[in-house]
């Protein structure tokens, strides 16, 4: 009896253990070329196909409605997987899925940093032949696609889902109070931020958290006409010195922002704690909701011209997992995403600027902040952000060094040297 019981228990435990084991998934393909060409056939379009989407938009209240419309348009049955909201967690999760050849997710939304990291790894399906054909490609920002998306061998591995600009925001009410009409030059900028700093308020605010500050450093480097990869460049050094001086000698921006990401920065703008900042145009909608966006309040304006008048543009992308078992469905989704209708629908649903330029510049199309974006496309030199494959490591590395600089742990000269050493690790390696 005891022996029988022992056998039954052992078998039960072993069975329970083994049911949790799956076969090792096939490793991600190394070559960029697909084994078979996937096209959406007319007959297959009648068949409802399953697709799994991991999206950073899934927490938006209008997301489910958008998914329903996409399912109807593409004849797909879409299962949505939530994406972590924390930058590091998100990167870790998506990287684990793609690098392990996990087939559970087909389409993933990634940002520029992740796209740059993944595009040369073989983890993403190339799309230049079936989705981002030359005719479709022509509808997107040439500068952005060249800087960020297209690989040196002409590969395209994503469909940008929206277009974003790191714009210059000014509080027009404060601008009037200090007796100015606009901020157009370097002198205007210094004048404005100095005069606007008083009574616990600051003329300029930033998001100086380790993984965010590189956007701002790069923006100022571009404004001075410097080179983000060359820290011995005089103009690059001018940009960093200005940021340091704004925090220390000039006192026009607070040190406490080294813990801030964009949400506290936006809130400080709304609270009038800051008189100006660089932040993505996507935040216009929240500022409007707070009743603080408009000609008499906060407005996104053309950045001042230091040596150049430039700004970063960026996007999030739909990418296809090369290990996906539902490539036909994925291609339907991606091809649909490149259409004018899809671009409009996405932009209106999520309050973002459309990725397609023809939609963006269409006078009949209107969403919050569209006029400002059109102004930027017209008057400002837009550039993709400088990225290397080990994007997060590089971004955090420079960000950490900058934090050490502004907390006076290191001097400016030491910062330049260490930043160059850090950059050379990724550029020269």
């Amino acid at each position: 009896m005891k022996r029988m019981l022992a056998f039954i228990l052992t078998a039960a435990i072993s069975g329970a253990l083994l049911t949790g084991c799956e076969g090792k998934p096939a490793p991600a393909k190394e070559s960029a070329a697909p084994e078979t060409e996937v096209t959406v056939s007319e007959t297959a379009a009648d068949e409802r196909l399953p697709l799994t989407l991991m999206s950073a938009d899934s927490t938006n209240s209008k997301f489910n409605d958008w998914i329903t419309r996409v399912e109807a348009a593409c004849n797909l049955d879409i299962t949505v997987v939530d994406c972590p909201t924390n930058t590091n967690d998100r990167q870790a999760k998506i990287t684990t899925i793609l690098s392990s050849g996990d087939t559970s997710v087909d389409i993933i939304t990634v940002n520029d940093e992740m796209y740059t990291a993944y595009k040369n790894t073989g983890w993403l399906e190339p799309l230049q032949d079936n989705v981002m054909t030359p005719e479709i490609l022509a509808e997107y920002s040439e500068v952005y696609m060249k800087d960020m998306v297209i690989t040196p061998d002409g590969g395209i591995y994503s469909v940008p889902s929206y277009f974003s600009v790191l714009g210059f925001f000014v509080n027009n009410e404060i601008l009037k109070e200090v007796g100015m009409e606009s901020v157009e030059t370097y002198d205007d900028f210094i004048n404005y931020v100095t005069k606007a700093t008083k009574d616990g308020k600051y003329g300029y605010g930033g998001a100086w958290e380790t993984t965010y500050v590189f956007n701002e450093i790069g923006t100022f480097v571009n404004l001075f006409g410097g080179d983000y990869y060359d820290w011995s460049n005089e103009n690059t050094q001018k940009a960093v010195k200005l940021l340091y001086d704004m925090c220390h000698d000039m006192g026009v921006t607070p040190l406490s922002q080294i813990a801030d990401q964009y949400d506290p920065l936006r809130q400080n703008m709304i609270d009038k704690t800051y008189a100006s900042c660089f932040i993505y145009n996507g935040h216009i909608a929240q500022m409007k909701e707070a009743g603080m966006y408009g000609d008499d309040a906060i407005k996104m304006v053309v950045p001042p011209t230091f040596e150049t008048c430039s700004a970063y543009c960026s996007s999030w992308h739909f990418v296809l997992n090369s290990a996906s078992k539902n490539k036909e469905a994925a291609m339907r989704f991606l091809q649909y995403s490149t259409t004018k209708e899809a671009s409009m629908d996405y932009a209106v649903t999520f309050g973002r600027s459309p990725a397609r330029l023809d939609v963006l510049m269409d006078e009949s199309f209107s969403i919050t902040g569209i006029d400002e974006i059109r102004q930027y496309i017209d008057k400002v030199t837009l550039r993709g952000r400088p990225m290397v494959p080990e994007s997060m490591e590089f971004i955090s590395g420079i960000g950490s060094l900058f934090q050490r600089l502004v907390t006076d742990e290191i001097t400016l000269d030491t910062f330049y040297q260490m930043a160059q050493d850090e950059t050379d690790k990724y550029i020269l390696d």
Partner: protein
């Protein structure tokens, strides 16, 4: 004899699945980590790994960020443990005193320990904020003009992390020391008082020797937990400002899962393992000495 062999055989059959599971979830990852530490595995650079011998280990001692992490891990462990022992024993002695409400106090003192560290870390991030924080609000009731951003400066950020760690775990240490105190008979104290011992002599000659073994044993676990702390830094400071509050475990997570330098992360993990083993051996040696 036959019956004994049968029982043993049955016992092995029942235990084997658990041993296999434990082996798969513990021994296999440890061995793999050790092997990976000798390879250059950078997933964002190349899908292939190359044999690097001791290059990853040499890199540890040349990497300024790692050296900062090692320094802060050492400081964090030593300072936190020191205060764990001092405050923990003091709290245990207080909880051992007979007074009304003692039971209630013993219950509520464990509340911080019961809270998840991630929740504590996120709350602490706001608590140490200059404008909205609880800490500065309390200080301003005494010094009204007090202004200080605790998490902006490396030195104060480190102190803040240590304070939060102490706030959360000292009660647990104290409760365990209290359990050891309960075993000391009141008769010994009575006899010592009759012999003319004062409070300090009672503490040093009776209390400390009787709880020393327990405290040293606890030190092994609490030291290992301090050295492998990750969640307090992850939720409270993200290793910043700069890298000043980046502990080794946090650095391992960053290298392995954010930067995808699996080989390098594995070598850091091996170093941490060796450090923990070394400290544990020293502790066990001290315990053996007490037994002798």
């Amino acid at each position: 004899m036959e019956k004994k062999r049968t029982h043993l055989w049955i016992a092995w059959i029942l235990v084997t699945p658990v041993i296999l599971l434990r082996g798969f979830t513990t021994i296999y990852p440890v061995v793999t980590t050790f092997i990976n530490s000798f390879f250059d595995i950078r997933l964002l650079k190349s899908p292939y790994s190359t044999f690097a011998w001791l290059d990853n280990y040499i890199k540890i001692f040349r990497d300024p960020k790692l050296i900062t992490s090692l320094q802060f891990t050492a400081i964090f462990t030593v300072v936190s443990m020191l205060f764990h022992i001092i405050i923990g024993i003091a709290l245990a002695l207080l909880l051992n005193v007979k007074f009304k409400g003692r039971r209630f106090l013993r219950s509520i003192v464990l509340i911080p320990w019961a809270m998840p560290m991630v929740v504590v870390g996120l709350a602490a991030r706001w608590a140490f904020n200059n404008n909205y924080g609880l800490i500065n609000d309390l200080i301003r009731r005494v010094i009204s003009s007090f202004q200080y951003d605790w998490l902006v400066y490396p030195f104060s950020a480190r102190i803040s992390v240590i304070i939060v760690d102490l706030w959360k775990d000292v009660p647990y240490f104290a409760i365990l020391v209290l359990a050891a105190l309960q075993f000391i008979s009141e008769d010994i104290y009575e006899a010592a008082r009759i012999d003319g011992a004062n409070t300090i002599q009672l503490f040093t000659r009776i209390t400390v020797p009787n709880i020393l073994k327990t405290v040293l044993t606890l030190c092994i676990f609490f030291t290992i937990w301090r050295m492998t702390s990750f969640d307090v830094v992850y939720s409270m400071t993200s290793g910043g400002p700069g890298d000043s509050t980046s502990l080794l475990a946090y650095r391992i997570m960053t290298e392995a899962f954010t930067n995808l330098n699996v080989g390098y992360a594995s070598s850091i993990a091996v170093i941490l393992f060796l450090m923990m083993s070394g400290l544990s051996c020293i502790n066990l040696f001290c315990i053996k000495k007490i037994d002798i």
